[in-house]
Symmetry: C5
């Protein structure tokens, strides 16, 4: 959302890429009316809106491309769930770009909306990230597939760039979990339970974003809009299958985490057992001995043993006897 | 439910809003027969029943609008599950307004029933809450969408007001869970397990209400009643998607709570470990020393060490030796 | 099941209610042949079999009404799962009446089978309970709906009476769980885990009975038998929705019980922690002091401190010093 | 599977039951060619293969009845999952007979395959068990249903005999679990956790066998093969419903076991709490007393109390005072 | 994936098996152009690519057989999820060969892609394993089914070889779990929790591979491509049913592991109980005795008992009395 209250007429600075078989031009747009002639061009064009700050521009875009009010609302409201909506003369795809500023636990989601029209693709980014740089390079390549195919293929390349990011995030999470796994099983380093749970959160967030993305790709595959050509379907299917694959891997990682928590808990219990055993061994050996020593520390006048010449040495033999019996008992119980 | 036994003919006091493109009138109804002429009007009208106390009035409304007996029963029985029923000449929507009087754990549900007819919308509230105040303001705005669209759009605005409340409740629950999360992970404040479970209960109640609401919106989207115009569908879809989004977030929060309980339990175990270790360290150091002291506190007549000049100091060296060995042992075991 | 071996011809004693718009007669049947003329009557009639003891009578009924062998078997076998079967000239509904003789944990199920024919309804009870008393009253009321509607509506009233019982059982379980919840959270009364599990069992049994009942009502709604009139559907739908509602509430109660068990377990752990802390505090304070006392209880001839004038008071200052340090340590650890 | 390497031509000894309305003959088959004339008979016949040892015979059967290679493979491979396969001129049903040689934990599965043809039923048993003895009796009864109905009804009686066995196994498991339940709740007898888990395993195995059986009966109900007559469907439906019922009961028993394990675990924790409390009470009472006794056991020359006439009695009053205070403290904490 | 940067034109060395009814030839291919004539042959042929190293060869294959770009990409990308894709003139099947180099915990997956064409089958292996050796033998057998049937049957034999491997892996996992089960229940050998979890991982990986394989076989069964003949369907169904069976067994093993972990945890708790009881018994017997001994070790001048002739023996009778009472108490509590 944006607050439009103190909005002034910003200067516009957009790049419009006009392309087609054997054709490529990059235009700098400073006024939204410059876009209109391209709508009638024989070439396709791509318009990237790097942010959603300029509400007036968004309204002009809405009018130029005749976008539905609810479509525009979905583009502007960055809390939307990923989805596809098939309108009569355009398709709206809302997806999420995921990235982590510092560490994995702070995954953030940036909304990217893609509008596919007859000869144009518009992409709306929540913030000006550089996620589409690779595509700018490919579009300038005269022999690449992008130039030959239609706007549906171009939209596919944008979606592909986003889904590729999911893959690399999945790998980061997987690596981090494997490190935790090694640390926990080797018991070499003290792991805090909250570190494990941070990974669980990352997985949760990834799933929350990828699940509806998978759904929208499935819908797109089955859509019968004239804007999606039959020969583009295998490409859409490919990223669809990637989202299925990622979901399955996330599920496996989630189970790994459950396992890690169980091992963690068991290690705590095993450590407590060890502490208890140490205490019990020492206490059960020495408490009876201390009692015996206490007995011969009593001050009764009539205690025959005290006067016996070998009393002291006999007492020591009792001490040793009790100790040895106890140690044998513990050995038998396999306490150490 | 109401007990109709000692019911007397109440004076009626209802507001009826007649509106349409370029038209707005607010009428004060004191007798249910005053409603009848509006049924034939070219304008739409909205009638809000602020409570369900006056059983006679409800019966008169039933007859004036020709509502089915079972429909009226659903309106009056405030234990209904949210649902939509498509009758021949009207649509009945039963939803729940959720609010918390004091704190989140005491969420209460007020039933709101909406009847959509050809040129009227009737809303029945369980109690006279002010949830539709915003709509009263919008209806008085001459250029707003409400005036231009039909009764289906008007019903949408009522539903939208209710679903918006779910969102704000979701946010309150989410905030509360995040506070608990911080308190539990930082271990700074003693959290009671019942506080965590109160949040779980709120989530449960929210889900119980929102799940069938989502279902009814989905049914409404697919209904083919003449009362729902095609151009209203995107609006209904929008609140439908909101309920999907809320359900997903509730599910995530529910998982967060499960995680919190696990961390809570682990903290208890870790604290117990620490207590046990403290006891074990002190006891295993001093119990053997006390035994040694006990030995030399025995009163045997023949104990050569007692007469040895350095016996006392030698005993101290034994005390120190045992202590140091024990401390080294515990250090190795990384007990502190 | 019954063993028909030593069966003798019982005297029959059945009530047959013949009714219709402006008509009501109660007949006492002592011979099954008395039923036959009613089959040709213009009025509807209801025949209630209060038990399944008289196998000959059941066979006569089977023949008079031309019931299928498998239908009769389902009526007699009281272990049937609730279900509806649509035959050509009649509908068989098998449901379960639930009741608790003493306490909730001993819920028992009595099978009730209902046969809906063109102008008759037969109900078969496993035992002679008084569950249909309310219906006997309503059928005698000349202006009630029962008289006007068909046999399908009459069957609905029987089912409604049974589903209403489920509601009251749900409420009893809910109340009992809330009492347990208060007792567990307040920790005032010792709750036994088996009490919690008894509630879980009641819920399990209720779900086992209501789940297929819900299913059969759904089937009944969608059946296209000429025996179910279109205008009866909203009534069937109403009890269908009640079973949905009850299932959802049972699910919530089941989750509450899971929560209660977790709180119960946590309370056990917290109590153990408290016990351990008490022991540890006392032991870690006094064990070192006892050691010091033991040292000065040794009988070495050369122990300079023993002769020192202030030795005793100095030792007390050591006792106090150790105690104070320990208390400070425990305070810092927030052990009390 | 069988190893056909050292197979010699076994003498064949099979019973073939030819039956029909008013007809019954038992034939002893010693050569597979004797079967061929019955295929053209106006009567139905049943052929039971008591084991799968004679591979030559199986091949002759395959050829006589024109069974598909894969069908024969399924009959011979006794690891098959229960299933039905509808071929053009026969139906193959593969089910599992369950039995326990010694105790429930050792449930074993014997595969039974049933081939339904136009006028024959062939049953293949993995081993020569007596599970179909009851059917041999019924087939000899001239007025029984078996003689009148077709081969589909006959196959139903075979399946019914097998499903009845599932019921009795379910009852055995249920009884065993109830005994365990009583022992665990009453805490009278030491139950080993592995006994509980043995029941879990039995349930797992029963479910593994019954689940696909249920599936195959459902398929059979909906099959449109000419070999299944319409009037047999209620009978198939009856055993189908029994499998549904058994599955539901198994699910309930599985939940009971989960509950039992939880109670078992809680009992362990409660016992540990009791042990800890006993230790803590004794230790926290006597450790301070022992300290006090230790103090007055010190040998300082200047200890005024030692000379005081009432010192000893005063010390005893300290002992008693500490003990009483401790007991009051523990009473307040409700430790005993 | 492979890095094609420093790729040079490798010499090719492939075996091509041309076969048909009464025909078998093995050709050694050293140049991809040698394959082309076989495409027009009346016989079928099988081409096995033992690895994916030679990117040029793969491109030539792509062109010779006219494979779709996305199909080739799926063959080369060895991270694909198992799947089937039906193209116009060929079917692409991607599956995973599973094997364990050292121990089960290190299961590795090798991708195998199978292309079924009109008169050819191409198999692509990630590495040159010998999994298809058995098939080479069978293809040389003149009377085998392989020669008579079409390319679909041949592809089935390849898939069958792979699914058979899953079975043997399942058996290895099952055996390992049973060993662990015996060790844990007998408590004879110390099992590490991580050993149990390694099995869980193997099961997870098997499921991850077999689940989509099952799906692809189901798709293949229902495909209506002209490349899959009707008479091959029972064979595909057979391996489909095997994957269902394996999945069910894996699920059972997964549950067994959950059970094992619970028993493992319980054993830890029981051991801790035993340790605690040992400590408590020793401590609660001797701590009071030591106190009594301490009392008569005090040095008060006025202690009448000390002078009593039988004081010492009376004290011993107190020691014995307390010990006996304690032992009786513990016996009653059934602590040993
Ligand atoms: Mg954002
Ligand atoms: Mg990609
Ligand atoms: Mg890993
Ligand atoms: Mg792919
Ligand atoms: Mg523990
Ligand atoms: Mg209410
Ligand atoms: Mg809204
Ligand atoms: Mg949070
Ligand atoms: Mg929206
Ligand atoms: Mg929208
Ligand atoms: Mg039956
Ligand atoms: Mg009963
Ligand atoms: Mg009711
Ligand atoms: Mg409650
Ligand atoms: Mg209702
Ligand atoms: Mg009602
Ligand atoms: Mg209703
Ligand atoms: Mg514990
Ligand atoms: Mg087969
Ligand atoms: Mg098979
Ligand atoms: Mg077997
Ligand atoms: Mg039976
Ligand atoms: Mg029971
Ligand atoms: Mg039945
Ligand atoms: Mg413990
Ligand atoms: Mg690909
Ligand atoms: Mg690989
Ligand atoms: Mg195989
Ligand atoms: Mg096993
Ligand atoms: Mg096979
Ligand atoms: Mg658990």
């Amino acid at each position: 959302m944006m607050d439009s209250s103190q909005e002034v007429k910003h200067p516009i600075s957009l790049d419009l890429y006009s392309f087609g078989e054997g054709h490529f031009e990059k235009h700098h747009i400073t006024n939204s009316e410059q876009i209109i002639p391209f709508l009638e061009s024989e070439h396709k064009f791509w318009l990237n809106m790097p942010n959603l700050n300029n509400i007036d521009l968004l309204n002009e875009i809405k009018n130029i491309f005749d976008l539905h009010t609810m479509a525009m609302e979905d583009i502007i409201n960055t809390q939307e769930r990923p989805k596809v909506e098939i309108y009569d003369h355009f398709i709206l795809i809302v997806v999420k770009m995921l990235y982590s500023r510092n560490n994995l636990a702070d995954l953030e989601a940036e909304q990217v909306s893609i509008v596919i029209g007859k000869n144009y693709v518009i992409s709306f980014q929540e913030h000006a990230f550089d996620i589409f740089d690779g595509i700018r390079v490919r579009i300038e390549n005269p022999s690449g597939k992008i130039r030959k195919h239609g706007t549906d293929y171009f939209a596919y390349t944008l979606l592909d760039a986003i889904v590729d990011e999911y893959y690399s995030l999945l790998e980061k999470v997987t690596d981090k979990i494997e490190v935790l796994e090694d640390e926990i099983i080797s018991e070499e380093k003290r792991v805090k339970l909250s570190e494990i749970y941070n990974q669980r959160k990352s997985i949760q967030l990834l799933k929350k974003v990828i699940w509806p993305t998978r759904e929208l790709l499935s819908t797109l595959k089955k859509s019968e809009s004239f804007l999606i050509k039959r020969r583009t379907l295998p490409f859409i299917n490919d990223i669809y299958e990637q989202t299925v694959e990622i979901m399955e891997n996330l599920e496996m990682q989630r189970e790994s985490i459950t396992t890690l928590v169980e091992i963690y808990m068991t290690n705590i219990s095993l450590k407590q057992n060890e502490v208890m055993k140490t205490l019990t061994i020492i206490a059960t050996i020495f408490i009876p001995l201390t009692f015996v020593a206490g007995v011969y520390g009593m001050n009764f006048e009539y205690m025959p043993e005290l006067k016996w010449e070998y009393g002291y040495w006999f007492t020591w033999s009792i001490f040793l006897g009790i100790s040895i019996l106890m140690v044998i008992y513990f050995k038998r119980k396999r306490w150490f």
